[in-house]
Symmetry: C2
Subunit: 346 residues, 2 copies
């Protein structure tokens, strides 16, 4: 009989939290007891899981007594306030926020890429940024096979990455637009930032706030997390992160330069065909390539449009798409828990 | 008194043709006589220009007798069939299609960039691809100042680049989507191609059909036209062209490597502040950056998000936005005619 675990979900009503519950159920994670934790404001609400109704409790340090695994997805401030308290009480925290990702004591894990890092944990394991995860799933097999000298990515990110209110904003703006009304923007590009711009019929070259070097935090997350996950601190990485009016599914236009000379498109395709978590969707003659609408609801990372650069023998261009709420967040968190269970770490 | 010219517009009812008429009027181009030419199917329709009503005539070789300037925007096949006939009858053809762009006898012109090429014409002058034009306006001043070693672009292109039917398709799909209906796709990514995919809530990594090397024609246009316009056949250029659910305004995430070492972001900003046709919109602290919705209806090319690469001292990232129907098409064509008039070539 499989060991039954006590699982806590912190932030279960959010865009990612909802998907975490779905994934725990769908993947038959051995949830013996479930605790749904939330802010004081949401406490008392009811949610169903595997046909049973659960009442949300206010998350406090004491909530984590007896918890085996705590999946956090309620924003960085909640994780900062409660993750250590949960870990001190013996729970393994799998944190979907950016609070601990660059902490040297916290493994940052994509199971297909650096599963071995999990065992170094000291109570907290971080789930990488959504746009980083799918890029790692697609690129690590190529790096393992041919090395990697350089990486430049431009993203096309869905609004669900900014939460439920951003999804609602896109819907409202679309309705306003089709009715010929003025479009109101109050959430995107960044909830709480000084200015807001419409996302319907628009693209916004800002995700998260700006850092002093002109890159946004989202871009710096992609850059720094990539180096940490790949254990490649010297790897040159550059990112431009852009929000597009898509509900779910992040897309990425990626340029890489491999180390090895003479690699062909077919070589890259063969590596990706055998790569865990990757679906190769690359047949231009039949217009086969990934799109976010088709990737929505699926757990894999889809790769297509693989082309050799026309000037650089070691250069390749790829198009990588995945559901940002699943592999980019909820699914990856549950997969970390599954890997720990398989490896006897839970 | 300004010389009055006989102007023909071929394809006046299209997305670009409509804007050509607007620009001729708005910019007070000295139109003495106007001939609106179209396919047999559209002949007989009426359009107004400067308060007068014009009847569309079927375009034939004889239509161009007495015409000084003919603006073509009715598809490559119409240009192929009629542009030489028009030129033989003494008209200067300014062609907005891809039919003659790479013809060595045809100058490919962005007036701010290579106006001097106009005088080499033999009757036909080509207007570059929309996504190429705005990139040239932004990058040529930088290349003139600091040289250019490398260029990698990922685009976020509006549906209006695929014509009126693609704009209608986005609207119809959006309405279907908000009503919870199945979304029908019959136009994009490429009218007449084998498969069609929804553009509402989606992005499509295909613009124009695929070539044998895995790049699309749109990507190869950006690559080849850039080299021709800049007179830089050896310049490495790579492009990934993506359609996004935006009505008007193409956006571009561009990586460049300049030749000169030690160039700063402020240097690039200063060059662009003085560049013709460019508006610098680059103040991250105040969330100032270009978006397509804001660029719609404007003639300039907007540049922001200028950052120095974190690893490559000669590397810079930029975000470039312009209205694809204006600077990307209609306005650039009219500007070519204006330059010819100023230079005594008409």
């Amino acid at each position: 009989m499989t060991k039954q675990l006590t699982v806590a979900v912190v932030g279960a009503t959010g865009a990612v939290g909802t998907k975490m519950m779905e994934q725990l159920s769908k993947r038959k994670f051995p949830v013996g007891k479930l605790k749904l934790l939330a802010s004081k404001r949401s406490a008392g609400k009811e949610l169903s899981f595997n046909g049973e109704t659960y009442v949300l409790e206010e998350a406090t340090p004491e909530s984590f007594e007896g918890v085996d695994v705590a999946l956090f997805s309620a924003g960085g401030s909640v994780s900062t306030a409660l993750a250590h308290a949960a870990a001190e009480r013996g729970a393994v925290v799998i944190d979907n926020t950016s609070a601990f990702r660059m902490d040297p004591d916290v493994p940052l894990v994509v199971p297909e890429v650096n599963r071995a890092d999990i065992k170094e944990h000291k109570g907290i394991i971080a789930n990488p940024n959504c746009s980083t995860i799918q890029m790692m799933v697609a690129l690590e097999p190529i790096r393992q096979a041919y090395g990697l000298n350089n990486l430049i990515v431009s993203t096309y990110q869905a609004v669900s990455g900014s939460g439920v209110s951003a999804i609602e904003e896109l819907h409202e703006q679309s309705v306003q637009w089709e009715k010929g009304k003025d479009v109101e923007a109050t959430i995107l590009p960044v909830k709480g930032d000084k200015r807001h711009f419409p996302i319907a019929r628009n693209v916004l070259p800002q995700i998260d706030v700006f850092t002093d070097n002109g890159f946004t935090y989202e871009e710096m997350k992609m850059i720094n997390e990539t180096k940490k996950i790949m254990h490649a601190p010297e790897l040159p990485v550059a990112a431009t992160c852009v929000r597009v009016p898509v509900v779910a599914g992040h897309s990425e236009s990626i340029f890489i330069e491999v180390e090895q000379a003479g690699v062909t498109v077919a070589d890259i395709q063969n590596v990706l065909k055998a790569a865990p978590g990757v679906v190769l969707q690359d047949d231009p003659a039949n217009q086969e390539y990934p799109t976010p609408l088709e990737a929505e609801g699926k757990g894999e990372t889809f790769v297509g449009r693989i082309r050799k650069d026309l000037n650089n023998d070691k250069g390749f261009h790829l198009w990588v798409v995945s559901d940002n709420l699943l592999k980019g967040a909820a699914l990856n968190s549950v997969q970390i828990a599954e890997a720990m269970l398989e490896d006897g770490l839970l």
